[in-house]
Subunit: 396 residues, 2 copies
């Protein structure tokens, strides 16, 4: 029996492909620091669990396809407070940002249509391009200018007749880049000029460091017909396991299409939506505190990484990732080796080889994506394991 | 801005397409009996909520892509107790049976490949054929023989070079048909002869009435390489809102493909998996009690429906649906009229027009699918609304 050709051509997510080796290391009694995945160790606010425990349901029935109205209303309030005008009726709840992207691609593209995005891009986008049978094209960004946009000419040179969508994460995953107002304006203008939809992945909206200004696509008032925001509570409220996200758009036809798709899979999980509604009612002070913590982690991580001989990484401005250049040839092999053959006092480290985040991956085989999602102490230990690991790897 | 062509060709789920009219009826203060959707009013076992409330997590982090091992183990024990040999490692947890079907189609079929199923079929399958860009072919079944299989000749006459998968729900949705041992054997033999995968949707496995015998595809020992079971806790434990299902297969290559797809969307919801593990540890007595209740509801529903002049329905043997012939031309219009213009003492009724469950829908416009998921008293009231509604509809 043969698998489908599309299945055979589907790679493992770069974020989790080394998981079997991490599992083996743990089975041997090693502790593994997970810097491979954006799974924060920050506590999920107690309000989430309290709301679920107090729900007092007799029957856990299907929620409405578009999601619980209470959550959609809480999200609308949150958006308005962030200068993103969205009504509850503009929002469709999804099983994480992942399902939101799938729905957006199905609604906006036909088979073989192209999505334009930057390189490097979030590796799991690639899964969804495969699922929705899309092609993709990328414009390059590089560590030299902290992964900011190239010129308009370079961007538009990638657009073809089949390009239907511009997809961008801001702050960027895996780069941590926070795009300037001028950059967001430029992309909106390109979308208008070339009649593209914009899928704005803004799940890291709150994680902005050094007091930088954040420009959401949702605050622009001339792209209502073409803008879809993808969002998620995973990072925002440290609730990755809830699998609650949303699509938000001011284009009513599109919103109806999303409801239709949502109806096809019946509903998102009821209890997790009840918890999420409580999270969206937290006050802005919550984000200030969390942001301080992540900025501290960023400081520690970038400082420790740049101390290591031969390692360079950018001074990430947002989200909680950084792309690091390592003084090795094959990060895939090195990361696997760390898990299989190396430890410092019984502890080792899992990172995501960055090649999986690139269209032209052959040029970036020495890079890793590092998620600074653990506490500062763990990050320091992780950097030490990396430093010692690099020495031992070279000395093999 | 244009939606994609595939989106434009996607119909609303027949189960929920009339929801806006039901919402309006409710806004006018009417009570609506929902016989349109298999959303039981049976209480979700308290163990589900207790397990979640006792989980005591600080951080709601991503679960493993294939699901929590504790749940996979509980499921394996359940399968073994049902004479379906499955190990925990054969099982991948999904966001309901819906995501399970999507993963199966992506792994087994390429764009344009055909799925063979019976007509009528579960209407939401159609959404997934669209999402996965499949075509489908159907062999006919009819109310005259309680929707059992036609001859082998008739079934295989539908198979083409592009047919890759046989998909069947057993007990049948929307028909309630429980296939005999000989029928399941016949389909397994056809799958072997024509080299088809079998996707067995067995989410209603426990709902078998009148002491009938149930034959799972999973109990056959000569189709390990081609069998995928789709399952869900939604109906089994009256937990539709949890969105927990699974894929189970003894084909290791396929299982690895499912894990890879699961990795692309990161994880299923953590808390709901914790609750589901507790459900799968319930003893078989639970099902006996629930089954008695549903058999009673079936008895009431079928008796009451057949009392109505011009209405006929089959004596459903399993699941909790029946297809009823109504003495009208256009069930879609009638169902909408019931919601918009009719009530008995402030109460009305929502049913699913059955045409959406047929490939050749033009021949079945007078049928509805009725889910007998409410208590007997509500079912009697619903039948009365239907009887009075039919009279008033004709007298317009």
């Amino acid at each position: 029996m043969e698998l489908s050709k599309r299945m055979q051509s589907m790679p493992y997510s770069a974020i989790r492909k080394l998981t079997p080796y991490a599992d083996k290391a743990k089975a041997q009694g090693k502790h593994v620091y997970h810097l491979n995945i954006g799974a924060p160790d920050v506590e999920t606010p107690q309000e989430f669990f309290d709301a679920i425990n107090n729900a007092d349901l007799d029957v856990l029935s299907y929620a409405p396809a578009a999601g619980l109205m209470d959550l959609r209303e809480a999200m609308a309030d949150y958006y308005k407070a962030n200068d993103i005008p969205m009504e509850a009726s503009d929002i469709v709840i999804t099983a994480g940002g992942s399902e939101a992207l799938l729905f957006a691609l199905l609604a906006l593209t036909d088979i073989g249509d192209e999505v334009l995005t930057c390189e490097p891009y979030y590796t799991n986008y690639f899964s969804y391009f495969k699922w929705a049978a899309n092609e993709y094209v990328t414009f390059p960004t590089s560590v030299e200018n902290n992964f900011h946009l190239p010129s308009k000419e370079e961007i538009v040179s990638k657009i073809t007749d089949r390009t239907k969508v511009l997809l961008l994460s801001n702050p960027g995953n895996p780069t941590g880049t926070v795009y300037t107002k001028a950059e967001i304006r430029l992309l909106a203008d390109i979308a208008k000029e070339y009649n593209l939809y914009i899928i704005a992945d803004e799940v890291y909206r709150e994680f902005i460091f050094d007091g930088a200004e954040y420009q959401s696509f949702g605050s622009l008032d001339d792209i209502d017909d073409r803008l879809i925001i993808i969002d998620s509570i995973s990072k925002r409220y440290s609730a990755c396991g809830a699998r609650i996200g949303c699509l938000a758009t001011r284009n009513n036809e599109l919103r109806d299409a999303f409801v239709k798709l949502a109806t096809g899979r019946l509903a998102a999980p009821t209890l997790e939506m009840i918890g999420a509604a409580a999270l969206y009612r937290k006050t802005p002070e919550y984000f200030q505190e969390v942001n301080r913590e992540y900025q501290h982690r960023r400081d520690v991580m970038v400082e420790e990484l740049n101390k290591i001989e031969g390692v360079t990484c950018s001074n990430t401005a947002g989200a909680f990732y950084t792309i690091a250049d390592l003084p090795i040839e094959d990060a895939d092999h090195f990361c696997r080796w760390l898990l299989e053959e190396f430890d410092v006092d019984g502890e080792t480290l899992m990172m995501a080889p960055a090649a999986g985040f690139y269209e032209h991956s052959e040029n970036f085989r020495n890079q890793v994506r590092i998620a600074f999602v653990l506490n500062a102490e763990s990050l320091k230990k992780s950097a030490n394991i990396l430093a010692e690991g690099l020495k031992a790897y070279k000395a093999r």
